[in-house]
Symmetry: C2
Subunit: 194 residues, 2 copies
């Protein structure tokens, strides 16, 4: 067949990513299937490969969408913020992971071959989240410590991420921790100096 609908190639790509994201969020990375995505958008497996070129590229596109939604969620929560903005940011981080557990986990479950790095469009989405958080850390830091803002934000993101991982995968439950967001807020406050 030839062109079948009024979707441009770019539109079709978006439709597939949208359906793929939903499928991922429902079943998780381990049970994700490109064939199932094809079925959901009314195409066949061959078309998926024509559009994305590889399975990895499809996953990357889906995870990129998840990152974008995550960034939007953070931004929205920070706009509504009253009180401690860093606390809001932490809670928004946890909230997204809890609400979209499978899609969120897929970001980390999927790994590119060791010798290839993600495309710039993907890296930009990671940095977009970083940039949002850097602004908050910077605002919380006294003038004398402004130069630390970026390295400190990298470290604090990793700190929050670690707590979020342990909260989501049951490690904290095993060890008797039942208020991970509170624990990480303590760490963050120590680091920025109250």
């Amino acid at each position: 067949m030839g062109r079948r609908s009024d979707h441009s190639r770019a539109e079709l790509s978006e439709i597939i990513v949208e359906a793929g994201y939903r499928h991922m969020d429902e079943v998780g990375f381990a049970h994700f299937s490109a064939r199932e995505v094809a079925k959901r958008v009314g195409y066949t497996i061959g078309t998926i490969y024509n559009v994305f070129g590889s399975y990895d590229a499809l996953i990357l596109a889906i995870n990129g969408r998840t990152l974008a939604l995550w960034r939007d969620h953070l931004e929205r929560r920070l706009q509504q913020a009253q009180g401690d903005r860093l606390q809001q940011a932490i809670e928004a981080y946890f909230e997204f992971a809890a609400r979209h557990g499978h899609a969120w986990a897929a970001i980390y479950d999927f790994r590119l071959p060791e010798d290839v790095s993600p495309p710039d469009t993907y890296q930009a989405k990671v940095r977009a989240i970083f940039d949002l958080v850097v602004a908050e850390v910077r605002a919380a830091l006294p003038a004398a410590r402004q130069p630390e803002a970026e390295p400190l934000t990298r470290s604090l993101l990793a700190t929050v991420h670690g707590h979020c991982v342990f909260a989501m995968n049951g490690t904290f439950a095993m060890l008797g921790e039942n208020d991970p967001a509170r624990a990480v807020l303590d760490r963050v406050r120590e680091a920025v100096g109250q």
Copy 2:
């Protein structure tokens, strides 16, 4: 066939886990194959399932072995420790993850169905690592703060883990961080108070 070698059932199980661990460490969770493990130990796929009952149980046994090796690595490094023991612990954490990247990642890549929790033998291995670290945190904490030792250790483990994840999966590379162990040591020192 019937019993074919002089392995008891328990010995066979250990042999399979050992081969499975090596296979996992070589190819990683995404390319791990129970059939391949069977081939390596000179049995067939059916025997794997007779011994472990399920794929999940096999993975759990292999990840359990990785946890035990990890604990041993930490313990050995702490025995040799000169100078800052918390720093040694952090470096040992990173070192194991770097040396056994695939096996280490498999601990987190694999997830049981949401409604089941890991067997006690597995949880005990997680706690064994926790116990090792608790002792170090306790030693670094003044008398007045001893009651915090356990919750603080949970939080610091998560902190170190988050940095380790970002170091291993390329997130830190994307964000320009090139000394993750140093960064997390700063966080840990802030938390225990120098």
